[in-house]
């Protein structure tokens, strides 16, 4: 096997800046219409990418920055919480009877708070208590969270999977740090139940699934691990004093093994055919049938990351697997260099910038952001340091922690 050329394996910085500025400043193409009700998350990815590239300040005039902040606040609802998009805004026709069709939504609220923080806002106009009361009402008896609440009294609508646990834990962390119990007269979510909900979703091979006994999936695994980290309920390190709090990841060694086993040499559908779909942890040297003549095995050119057992690699899973490992303190257990080369040589778009899902794909906002974030996690030169649990820059995390009202809340711990 020939070693991949290191020449050309670079992050094409100006092209990524161009890609993200275009997303920020011009209309997204029509095919994003199926993400119309997901705009707040697209906004977050776009602003956060610009922040991580270090281009946000240069890209925005003071007027634009204020304009974006105002646009986000315009998506805040009178009762607290944010809609995900102006698409549901009923305007002046909105009243108590029809507000159900224009509700606050979990990812909208999560994305709005993060976007405001990236833009440097102090979150003073956020209806914090309203959001926190709503968050508690969105938690179901099994510990999971809904996406929207039709009305207080009916069960929350939406899935039962760890994505919603993650966003709820993120909103809680932003608005009240990880203080447990009531704060300023507002009750906390039930953190024990949240942890229990995640424990029940751990699977037989160590990954985490959408619901109990479903298939292990890297996206849900990442959401679960980030959520546990945000509520400070990951397994204790041996150096930490034991306590009696319920913690998640009941079999952390199995989870680590599952995460590192997501590395694969099956990078596209052709590879899957070449190897007869053979599980790709099989070494390339082994595939060729020629065992290495000595112990000096050449370095692997590319290593991709998949989201489930026996599937092909996909850029977004580099993020889900690597943030999980990073949070668990074990990012060193994957092949950083070949993973970096896979992203830069194979899924980076050399003309448009950004990253696609698999080699040859056009970039899209989700994959472009997650690929960039993975590189930042590995400390790619030129990118700002990042904070994995909320997938934001370290600088934005520190900005949130520095806000006077939040310092006040955090002092109740």
């Amino acid at each position: 096997m020939a070693a991949a050329p290191e020449v050309g394996t670079i992050l094409h910085f100006p092209r990524h800046v161009k890609y993200w500025r275009r997303n920020l400043k011009t209309h997204l193409p029509t095919y994003y219409t199926e993400n119309d009700t997901n705009r707040m998350m697209l906004a977050f990815f776009t602003l956060s990418a610009e922040e991580i590239l270090g281009d946000l300040d240069a890209a925005l005039s003071p007027e634009e920055r204020q304009g974006y902040i105002d646009w986000i606040y315009h998506c805040q609802l009178p009762e607290g919480g944010f809609r995900s998009s102006p698409a549901t805004d009923l305007g002046t026709a909105r009243d108590d009877k029809n507000a159900v069709w224009d509700p606050p939504e979990l990812s909208g609220t999560f994305g709005a708070l993060l976007s405001l923080a990236i833009l440097g806002d102090d979150l003073q106009r956020v209806k914090r208590k309203g959001i926190l009361r709503w968050l508690s009402a969105m938690q179901r008896p099994d510990g999971s969270f809904g996406q929207i609440l039709e009305d207080y009294g009916r069960p929350p609508e939406g899935g039962y999977d760890p994505r919603f646990c993650y966003m709820a834990a993120g909103i809680r962390w932003i608005l009240r740090s990880n203080v447990e119990g009531p704060v300023e007269g507002v009750p906390d979510i039930d953190v024990d139940k949240l942890v229990q909900c995640i424990r029940e979703r751990e699977t037989y091979n160590g990954g985490i699934a959408a619901a109990p006994f479903r298939e292990a999936h890297a996206g849900y695994t990442s959401c679960a691990i980030s959520a546990l980290s945000l509520v400070d309920r990951l397994p204790l390190q041996s150096s930490q004093p034991p306590d009696t709090r319920l913690r998640g990841l009941t079999k952390p060694h199995l989870t680590l093994r599952w995460l590192v086993s997501r590395q694969t040499l099956t990078l596209d559908n052709d590879d899957a055919i070449d190897t007869h779909g053979e599980e790709a942890s099989l070494s390339a040297t082994y595939c060729s049938g020629s065992p290495p003549s000595d112990s000096a095995i050449p370095e692997l050119p590319w290593v991709g990351i998949n989201g489930r057992c026996c599937k092909i690699a996909d850029t977004c899973y580099s993020y889900y697997v690597c943030t999980s490992l990073h949070i668990l303190g074990h990012l060193d257990l994957v092949n950083a260099k070949p993973i970096r080369r896979w992203l830069l040589d194979r899924t980076q778009h050399l003309v448009l910038g950004g990253f696609g899902k698999t080699p040859g794909d056009y970039p899209d906002i989700l994959h472009a952001y997650l690929g960039l974030f993975t590189l930042a996690l590995f400390g790619e030169p030129g990118l700002r340091p990042v904070w994995a649990p909320l997938s934001i820059s370290q600088r934005v995390k520190e900005h949130i922690e520095s806000l006077p009202w939040r310092k006040q809340v955090a002092s109740y711990a």
């Binding site: 105002d70 102006p86 305007g91 006994f213 694969t264 599980e279 095995i297």
Partner: protein, 315 residues
């Protein structure tokens, strides 16, 4: 076919509510005129809480363009209830939509609510099979099937086991199918539930049956591994069955060795099983040399095997 409302007399009484995206909107999308207009009419009927036949048609239109719209599905569900539309009619409508939006999550959530209300899963297995013909590892479809098993109590149902078997037969690396097999055979009962309130003799009988089942599944997994020694799914399943039955991993020592008696080994997963057997038996030296072999033959996970070597020293 493009559909507009402003020139349709059936909608003349509705004043659409345009989208308020003024100021400095973030990530504005280049909507088509058709979508913009349909959304304007949707907001207007939602504001009136209108639940009518024409509203059903409008929700269908919007769902066709943006199936991820979270309140339009809820609005449609409430409209169906209001009009007392039979669940079977709605399922008939839903089938082609699901087939053309394989990765959409809301569709399955909606389907689940409709089938729950209908209180029967008749025909669902056939529809699922049709979906899996297009995408055999579709996460939403498998999740939905598992919900169906839970909702209608199909645990250890002959049909469910046969279905998992058929899917594994088609592709031994279909991890979703392996997971389904584990779920229907071992996922249905919570701890302490088995044999509860039953006579003692029956409890013994149950235990015996359980033992036979575990044995059968171990053999089943081994058979699959013989076809594809590198299939991680089958190995994971085998080890999960052992763990579930509280059997030591040395139970499969002989089997693992069939793949490890050559160099390079014929299966890295067999070599890994060998490692766990040594670890279980506290054979540190043997475990160390197995880890060295894994680091050599499994370069993709080399940093992990190196870490395990360090852990071994610490332990």
């Amino acid at each position: 076919m493009t559909k507009f409302y402003h020139d349709d007399p059936a909608w003349a009484d509705i004043e659409p509510i345009p989208q308020d995206d003024t100021g400095h909107p973030l990530v504005a999308i280049a909507y088509t005129a058709e979508y913009s207009e349909a959304m304007g009419y949707l907001r207007a009927v939602m504001a009136r809480n209108e639940h009518s036949e024409r509203v059903l048609a409008l929700t269908e239109h919007v769902i066709g363009i943006n199936p991820a719209h979270y309140t339009v599905w809820l609005y449609r569900a409430r409209t169906l209830e209001h009009l007392s539309i039979p669940p079977s009619d709605e399922l008939r409508w839903l089938n082609p939509i699901a087939l053309s939006h394989l990765k959409n999550y809301q569709i399955w959530n909606h389907r689940q609510a409709i089938v729950d209300r209908r209180d029967s899963c008749e025909g669902e297995a056939d529809f699922i099979a049709q979906m899996l013909d297009q995408d055999a590892k579709n996460y939403h479809v498998w999740s939905y099937r598992q919900w169906m098993v839970e909702r209608f109590g199909l645990w250890r149902d002959v049909g469910e086991v046969a279905f998992a078997e058929e899917m594994i037969g088609r592709d031994v690396r279909n991890n979703s199918a392996w997971n389904h097999r584990f779920f229907v055979l071992f996922g249905g009962r919570k701890k302490g539930q088995a044999g509860e309130g039953e006579e003692e003799g029956k409890e013994e009988e149950e235990k015996e049956k359980e033992k036979e089942l575990v044995q059968r599944e171990i053999e089943y997994a081994k058979q699959a591994i013989r076809q594809a020694p590198q299939s991680q799914s089958a190995w994971d399943y085998l080890r999960a069955v052992l763990r579930h039955a509280h059997l030591p991993i040395s139970t499969i020592a002989g089997f693992a060795n069939e793949y490890n008696d050559v160099s390079p080994p014929r299966s890295l997963h067999a070599l890994e099983a060998q490692l766990e057997i040594y670890a279980e038996q506290n054979k540190v030296d043997e475990a160390r040399s197995t880890l060295e072999a894994l680091a050599e033959f499994d370069p993709v996970r080399k940093p992990y095997w190196t870490y395990r070597q360090k852990e071994l020293v610490v332990a």
